[in-house]
């Protein structure tokens, strides 16, 4: 069976600086994978490059054995919370329904079925009471849950999430972890940018250690070793000296 994520020699450069070098990556189906590495290691860039959101200098990406454009309806994405204007005049339910825009296609508007499904997704993240709220009235954790609900509404088999735990409260963090695990148990594959080394082994079962290059990738227990971490973070520490 082909892996949901298969990346070969992926290289990204902004202007003069290489941000991602020759990355090879295989993520098996049903993994809950963390992309771990120091700041500036290219974690977000890896996700964005896989989804074609940043131009790549070289490399090949296959999702479920196909180019992204062919399987984009099976892929869900949670961008960083800070990437949007939370003052935008729209309600929580509206944002969640945006997850279904891809399926709806051009021109068609979301209808009753979509609204129903969006409510379900909100219920899953514990936000059903907030459906009518304006998004600027949400706390950081609630905003993140709404983004997660939108991803659930995408009904994907493979999820990419950019720092879903950044700036959220402890309750939200636990809720998000529970949802991620449930997704995994349903046979979905989830790739999460994460930078808390403490919680990584507890939350995830697959690790990708990244510092511009992929330093190590594999099952959490075998990959998340002091030696590999030293290689991922250590070079940087040496560099800082």
């Amino acid at each position: 069976m082909t892996n949901p994520v298969s990346v070969r020699d992926l290289t990204v450069a902004y202007e003069e600086k290489p941000v991602l070098w020759d990355a090879d990556l295989e993520i098996p189906a049903g993994s809950l994978a963390a992309i771990i590495g120091p700041n500036g290691a290219g974690k977000s860039t890896l996700i964005k490059a896989i989804l074609g959101l940043v131009p790549t200098a070289a490399g090949m990406v296959r999702l479920f054995g196909e180019p992204y454009a062919k399987v984009r309806k099976r892929v869900g994405y949670v961008p960083q919370r800070g990437s949007v204007d939370w003052d935008f005049p729209t309600s929580v339910l509206d944002v969640v329904m945006m997850g279904m825009y891809g399926r709806l296609g051009w021109v068609r508007r979301p209808g009753k079925a979509e609204r129903e499904r969006a409510r379900e997704c909100l219920r899953e993240v514990g936000m059903e009471d907030y459906a009518g709220r304006q998004i600027s009235q949400l706390s950081g954790g609630q905003q993140q849950r709404v983004f997660l609900a939108r991803a659930l509404a995408q009904d994907a088999d493979l999820y990419f999430m950019d720092e879903p735990f950044a700036g959220v409260d402890a309750t939200t963090e636990r809720a998000i972890v529970a949802i991620l695990k449930r997704l995994r148990d349903d046979g979905k594959t989830v790739l999460v940018v994460h930078h808390d080394l403490q919680t990584a082994p507890e939350y995830f079962d697959w690790a990708v250690l990244l510092n511009v290059r992929v330093m190590a990738s594999g099952p959490m227990a075998a990959t998340f070793t002091p030696d590999n971490l030293q290689r991922t973070y250590g070079g940087r520490i040496a560099f800082l000296k």
Binding site: P89, T90, R109
Partner: protein, 312 residues
């Protein structure tokens, strides 16, 4: 009653009112997107950039037909818009400077062309420069129909692509992950602003056009947190100020239409900022005052209770 009858029967008043209403409606909807996408000053730059197009349209065809002049204005405005977007994307020049450069340079070139026209000294060129302040009083039925058709087409595009425009305005990155052609949509939505500007030049003129785009949306935002309602309200605010301005300027002596329309819509903005049901400042001030009172009362009560506690 006379006024109402005039509104329907008087040719001039009807044209002014209809033209201003069309402009208000269209620019209210399209300007709302500009307000949300931080392109509030785009309208100002585009309306100035239209001048050379109008002059060239006349120079090349010798015709002052509204369609020719509007087409010239549209092409020049659109060119200015594309240049602004490209400068911002490909250089480190900030958007404000890019807008300022295109605005002045296009307009300056337009002024040069105007003097070329003046030198040719034929009767037809008279009035081209009137578009600076609009000439609502001289609107013909033909112009109003052209404006309505253009505006209708622009609104139809917004209606069809509402969902996509909403998404690229709110979360462009997510939109791209859905493989939407965000750059093309972005260009289209900004291009629609050019349509609004072209419609507006005849009525309120170059300088006031930016307010016509920004004000209805800014006012509507204070009343609602839903994009759909915001667009509807903005259209209504724009149309109402258009008609009100038209009537005021016709009934009173020596009052130009364009400025009155802008003052009407500015009045609506001020009222909305103060009393808007969603974000009105007055409600916030009242809330703050109440909080302060309650806090003071609680402090006083607490102090009183404390005093009572220590009393023997």
């Amino acid at each position: 009653m006379n006024l109402l009858r005039d509104l329907f029967l008087d040719y001039t008043l009807r044209n002014i009112a209809l033209g201003a209403a069309v402009l208000g409606l269209v620019s209210g909807v399209l300007g709302s997107f500009a307000v949300l996408r931080r392109q509030g000053l785009m309208g100002d730059a585009l309306s100035h950039a239209a001048l050379p197009g109008i002059c060239l349209g006349y120079l090349l065809t010798g015709s002052k037909a509204p369609l020719v002049l509007m087409l010239g204005a549209g092409v020049a405005g659109w060119l200015g818009m594309v240049l602004i977007l490209r400068i911002v994307r490909h250089t480190r020049i900030d958007p404000n400077s890019a807008l300022g450069i295109i605005l002045t340079v296009f307009f300056g070139f337009g002024v040069v062309l105007l003097t070329v026209l003046q030198k040719r000294n034929d009767a037809g060129q008279a009035g081209l420069d009137k578009f600076l302040f609009g000439q609502a009083a001289a609107l013909t039925q033909e112009q109003v129909v052209t404006m309505a058709a253009l505006g209708g087409a622009a609104l139809l595009v917004v209606l069809l692509l509402y969902k996509e425009f909403k998404l690229i305005s709110f979360d462009p990155e997510f939109a791209r992950s859905l493989a939407l052609p965000t750059r093309a949509l972005d260009l289209l939505l900004t291009s629609l602003l050019v349509v609004a500007v072209v419609i507006g030049l005849n009525t309120v003129g170059v300088v006031l056009m930016s307010a016509m785009l920004v004000a209805p949306g800014a006012a509507a935002r204070q009343w609602t947190d839903s994009l759909g309602k915001m667009l509807g309200l903005a259209a209504a605010f724009g149309a109402v100020s258009g008609v009100a301005g038209a009537i005021l300027s016709v009934t009173a002596e020596r009052i130009p239409t364009g400025p009155v329309i802008i003052l009407c819509v500015t009045g609506i903005v001020v009222a909305s900022l103060l009393f808007g049901s969603a974000r009105g400042l007055v409600w916030e001030w009242l809330r703050q005052a109440r909080h302060r009172r309650e806090m003071l009362a609680a402090l006083a009560g607490g102090a009183g209770a404390g005093g009572g506690g220590t009393a023997p």
